[in-house]
């Protein structure tokens, strides 16, 4: 083909950012990190790869790049930060008193078909709150997520709250076989009440539970959904308790000035399999997919020998940058054009450039044209 070179080809899913775009991403990252620091979270830069067992989990396993190390151990490029931070909190940081407040900003690598805002390399910025009182930690983490979007002047964004305890509570004791349970979960995630009913056809479960599961896909909207849910799930204590937990968090956030941003989505049962409680996603006008999300995972740390409840969230840097561009949010004016220093003799010209640099000027040395 004309003008192509075999070695210039790129593999699908990788990205490269140049100049203006790279600067924009850097500014977004700085803004988000300054919010994390502002809430007294400590940065952690975990390794790029670790033993594959660390990342074990049904949801991530098929999307993980794993390889065999020199000594025969199975290693994996990090597909996710949360498992790594849990391991570090339980291992290296085990003598630190809880709660631990940790944040990260870096790339994860996943086998993903490239579509709708997904790439194989993703830059995630997130934090984990490990240990500590659950409701306060949930509220704190949600407030931080909100502040990140406020700091970036994102317009028309929504924080959609859900709780995996609602779905899990309703199916608990219903003895649905694995295949049927997955089919039901998939239909609930699609907010398809008719599909949920079809998935339950012929299953032996109490009429009240069946009716509630058919109702679940419709329980998404404003915070008044919590009242509907409380009535609908009163017969099922675990589901009702999950609704009350959500209500407590929603009320706290409302009091803290975020009432207009809140949505409730009890049909939101997607995501990584380690979530055990609150789950949430951030959406904004102009982007067809979430900019970030997170949730509570109270059993993950026990895998690494330090049972601590935990909650965390992450924002996708690429998605945030894209959203800001779509919403026409410029983060800063382009830098001033450089002072060009060129001269007859190399030594004095270089001395002049160094002097200009010392006074803070942006300098271009020579004209730099391709010969």
């Amino acid at each position: 083909m004309n003008g192509t070179h075999r070695l210039a080809q790129v593999p699908p899913g990788v990205q490269c950012f140049v100049g203006e775009e790279a600067r924009r991403r850097r500014r977004v990252e700085e803004a988000v990190v300054s919010v994390f620091e502002g809430w007294d979270y400590e940065e952690i830069i975990p390794p790029l790869f670790d033993y594959a067992d660390v990342f074990a989990g049904e949801a991530l396993a098929p999307r993980t790049y794993s390889f065999v190390g020199r000594d025969g151990s199975v290693l994996a490029l990090r597909p996710d930060f949360t498992s790594l931070l849990a391991k570090i909190a339980a291992g290296r940081l085990r003598d630190r008193k809880a709660p631990l407040r940790l944040y990260y900003s870096g790339e994860v690598v996943r086998y993903e078909p490239v579509k709708a805002g997904r790439q194989s390399e993703l830059h995630q910025m997130g934090l984990e709150h490990l240990g500590g009182e659950a409701r306060a930690a949930d509220a704190e983490v949600l407030a931080i997520a909100a502040e990140c979007l406020e700091r970036l002047s994102v317009r028309e964004w929504v924080l959609a709250l859900g709780h995996v305890g609602v779905f899990n509570g309703l199916v608990e004791g219903a003895s649905l076989d694995g295949e049927r349970l997955e089919a039901l979960r998939e239909r609930v995630e699609s907010k398809d009440p008719a599909g949920a009913r079809a998935a339950l056809e012929g299953a032996k479960l109490p009429a009240a539970a069946a009716a509630a599961l058919e109702r679940l896909p419709t329980l998404a909207g404003g915070t008044s959904v919590l009242d509907d849910a409380a009535r609908a799930f009163a017969f099922c204590p675990p589901a009702a308790q999950a609704v009350e937990e959500l209500r407590a968090v929603a009320e706290a956030l409302g009091t803290a000035g975020l009432a207009d941003r809140l949505a409730v989505d009890l049909a939101e049962v997607r995501g990584l399999d380690y979530y055990t409680g609150l789950v949430f996603r951030l959406f904004a006008r102009g982007l067809g997919f979430e900019v970030g999300g997170g949730g509570r995972y109270d059993t993950l740390l026990a895998r690494f020998g330090r049972p601590l409840p935990a909650v965390g969230f992450m924002l996708g840097l690429d998605r945030l940058a894209l959203l800001l561009e779509r919403q026409g949010r410029a983060l800063e004016a382009a830098p001033a054009p450089p002072v060009v220093v060129r001269g007859g003799t190399l030594g004095p010209a270089l001395a002049e450039a160094r002097a200009k640099r010392a006074s803070g000027a942006r300098v271009r040395f020579g004209d730099g044209g391709e010969p």
């Binding site: 579509k115 709708a116 028309e156 964004w157 929504v158 959609a160 699609s190 907010k191 398809d192 009440p193 008719a194 599909g195 896909p217 419709t218 998404a220 909207g221 404003g222 949505a263 989505d265 959406f283 904004a284 006008r285 982007l287 067809g288 997919f289 979430e290």
Partner: protein, 205 residues
């Protein structure tokens, strides 16, 4: 700004128009060949049936009308809150009438289909090795010409199949038209989406 609705230019279009008119929703009047049309509070995109879920998944359209068959094939990550109760059909396996089609005796079954993913998943899920021949149309002629042992295709009345010497072996999935919604639009444009959803729900009763 108005909500954007993606509609299929294909077989679902007459039913979609009838539903929107019955619901009293805006709908374009004879705009000829324009593919992006504003009508009242809505903006309509007219695209290929297999592309409707894509427009909605990316959020270029907030909502759309797509057949369940197309949603199964594209695997798009969209919400499906409402069965619109028209466009009923099924995806089925069909083979030459009287051929004694028996995939369990073949090492590999060759299947011609426009629904390559659905066809592959159906056979693989039953433990049958399969080779899918992806075709863009006129799938019914493939077995007679020796291109495939059977087809996976949409069946409404079964007449096209019969005219090409095929008979249904088994149903893969039932289908009807669905209202689909982008996951972000559902929350970020909640009031408009809820209004459209409720209006269509009443009209589709």
């Amino acid at each position: 700004m108005s909500l954007t609705v993606a509609l299929s230019k294909g077989k679902l279009l007459p039913g979609t128009e009838a539903l929107f008119r019955r619901a009293g929703l805006p709908y374009p009047d004879g705009e000829g060949r324009k593919l992006v049309v504003e009508a009242g509070s809505l903006r309509f995109l007219f695209v290929k049936d297999m592309d409707v879920p894509t427009y909605v998944e990316y959020g270029v359209a907030d909502c759309g009308v797509a057949g369940r068959d197309v949603l199964l094939e594209t695997g798009a990550d969209v919400l499906e809150p409402l069965d619109l109760r028209f466009g009923h059909c099924r995806l089925a396996v069909a083979s030459p009438a009287g051929s004694g089609f028996a995939p369990d005796r073949a090492a590999t079954t060759r299947v011609a289909s426009k629904y390559a993913k659905v066809a592959a998943a159906h056979f693989l899920g039953r433990g049958l090795a399969v080779e899918v021949v992806r075709l863009a149309g006129s799938v019914e002629i493939a077995p007679g010409l020796g291109l495939a042992d059977c087809v996976v295709d949409v069946v409404e009345t079964g007449r096209t199949l019969a005219e090409n010497g095929l008979e249904v072996v088994e149903t893969v999935a039932e289908s009807s038209a669905r209202l689909i919604v982008n996951r972000a639009s559902f929350h970020a444009r909640r009031e408009e989406v809820q209004h459209l959803l409720e209006t269509l729900r009443r009209a589709a009763q």
